[in-house]
Amino acid sequence: MTPAGALAGIGRPVLAALASLGRIAIYAAQTITHLVRPPFYPREFLTALMQVGWLSLPVVGLTALFTGGALALQIYAGGQRFSAEAVVPQIVAIGMVRELGPVLVGLMIAARVTSSIAAEIATMKVTEQIDALVTLSTNPMKYLTVPRVLAGFLCVPLLVAIGDIIGIMGGFAVGTGQLGFNRASYIQNTVNFLEGSDIITSLIKGAVFGFIATVIGCLYGMQSGRGAQGVGAATKNAVATAAILILAANFILTSVMFGQ
């Protein structure tokens, strides 16, 4: 391979990734501008709230519960190496609230909600329902995207808060049931150690991840190719992109909020 060919081989995917990021940024900006301009579709928003929020509770709760429990076991086992087993409540709390709660909920939303939105809108595109909306003087951005993104932006912080609490409860259950911690002191240590800023950053992360997950689902659905293959590709790419962007956003937010 010639040096020019090698350079082109690197440049092409980089340019494609940048173009993709540009499309996402433009679509996100368009969504934000449509959020504040009528018409609004309250019924679609309520349906989206149900889909994104309420129906995600079981998967979020179970994920947080098992992760909190596993985290307590890991911290206990690791802490024994330098006689620091006693910090289990504090580390579970800070680990869940600052990091694992928002990230795991974000990834679960990407898996459950982004995929569902992308598949639904892609199917609507393939079956000409999006064209039908336009011919019926209805802007698909306002009717399909805005309600879902608003629901994601508002619901995911709540899901993160619930996930944080359940995760800490998972750690509490393992800590007191299996590792011999005193119940009252476990709760006291958790409450004393957490600060208001920890909770606020957790909720901010949730809002950002909810926005990313829903915007990506809508965008990839709208850009879907033809047929079943197009719907499948849109769904797969939406989930992968949302997951990567959520992890990247988590790093950036953590750097900004906790970086030294």
Binding site: M124, E128, D131, V134, T135, S137, T138
Partner: protein, 248 residues
């Protein structure tokens, strides 16, 4: 009147429309025929602005459609999509009344529902269908619901995209008759794209044949059989041999 002049549309290297010139007079029913993949649906979507044409002009009553205000422009149209394009998440009556319940002239829900049921009755469906979801209907019923939705707001112009595709001959005949009745009764301008010759004869006042991105032939329905145009003759008789390549 809808007028197209030199309309071009390409998708990458694929030049679908290569200079379409066509006029559809007000209150008439024009049927566009042509083989699969010749750009009939693209032509229709260009008129509606669902696809932006690359060159040429499309006017409606003398106004360039690419420069008009979208909502009032689209309010003049009704469209029956090939697969019905009914919204899965809405009940049948909500699909039919979709436009009636939105926009500047939105109607109260009860009134919109009544109109939807009336339109469903007009296309031969009972009020019991109104509260079903599209997935609970047969293909023919979905087409009829799509037709009811297209006429619900009493548009001036109705587009029919392959209205009989996928239907059995009896149901296709029912749909053809309904379209003809509605077009005459409402006095609308209709544009239908199809390759079903039974539909053409049932629906058309005039016919245009699209081939290789241009209008190959156009004329009144009465002149269709008599035209010496070899492309039209091959198409209407369904012959494999002729100027249109069977394998495209």
């Amino acid at each position: 009147m809808i007028a197209l002049q030199g309309v071009h549309k390409s998708f990458g290297p694929n030049r679908v429309l290569r200079g379409v010139d066509l006029t559809i007079a007000k209150g008439t029913s024009m049927v566009i025929i042509g083989g699969s993949g010749t750009g009939k649906s693209v032509l229709l979507k260009c008129i509606l602005g669902l696809v932006r044409h690359d060159a040429g002009t499309i006017t409606l009553d003398g106004q360039d459609v690419s420069r008009v205000e979208r909502d009032p422009f689209l309010a003049r149209f009704g469209m029956l999509f090939q697969g019905g394009a009914l919204f899965d998440s809405l009940k049948v009556w909500e699909n039919v009344a979709f436009r009636l319940m939105r926009g500047a002239g939105r109607l109260p829900q009860d009134q919109a529902r009544q109109i939807a049921i009336e339109k469903l009755r007009r296309v031969g469906l009972t009020p019991a269908v109104a509260d079903l979801f599209p997935a609970e209907l047969s293909g023919g019923m979905q087409k009829r619901v799509g037709l009811a939705r297209a006429i619900a707001a009493e548009p001036e112009i109705i587009f029919f995209d392959e209205p009989t595709t996928g239907l059995d001959p009896i149901m296709a005949g029912v749909i053809n008759d309904l379209i003809r009745e509605i077009v005459v009764e409402m006095g609308v301008t209709a544009m239908t794209i199809t390759h079903d010759m039974t539909s053409v004869r049932a629906i058309a006042d005039s016919v245009a044949m699209l081939h290789q991105g241009v209008i190959q032939w156009t004329g009144p329905i009465g002149a269709l059989d008599a035209t010496p145009d070899p492309y039209v003759q091959q198409f209407i008789h369904g012959r494999a041999d002729g100027p249109i390549a069977a394998v495209r």
